[in-house]
Point group: C2
Chain length 83, copies 2
């Protein structure tokens, strides 16, 4: 299953509780699209957030974010990872 990293702006001042709530909203609606959000990171200073997901397509991932109320248009298929 392809993996994606998407990027959000506008999370300035976000708390851990708020990020957890946003992530739960994604996970509540992701099933219908065959998507799974695995992890999210945020920088409350700049307002940037990054979400890692698996799903059938970029469009499916973005639809989940849109339905959950925090749309973005910036997404990358991260087909390679190392650690």
């Amino acid at each position: 299953m392809p993996r994606y990293m998407d990027v959000h702006s506008g999370f300035k001042g976000v708390t851990k509780e708020q990020l957890a709530e946003a992530h739960k909203q994604d996970q509540a609606v992701e099933g219908a699209e065959g998507v799974h959000f695995t992890k999210a990171w945020a920088d409350p200073k700049s307002g940037k957030a990054f979400c890692l997901s698996e799903g059938p397509s970029q469009e499916a991932v973005l639809r989940v974010h849109e339905r959950a109320g925090h749309p973005t248009t910036e997404i990358y298929e991260v087909s390679i990872d190392v650690e």
Copy 2:
């Protein structure tokens, strides 16, 4: 220890072996700065890459990337994460 996500461009066409080599180059010089690169993802189509690290400061992380030969200026302190 603060955690950071940094963003690179210019990795168009990168292979898993090349990303692993770049990541190893970071890890070979990170110790002097008290930095540790934990994970990297890349999208060979767009050339975007994302690196997750821990370290004492953004500047320390960027110095490691610069010494390893793949500098960037885009970095965020991701003080919050959820899964």
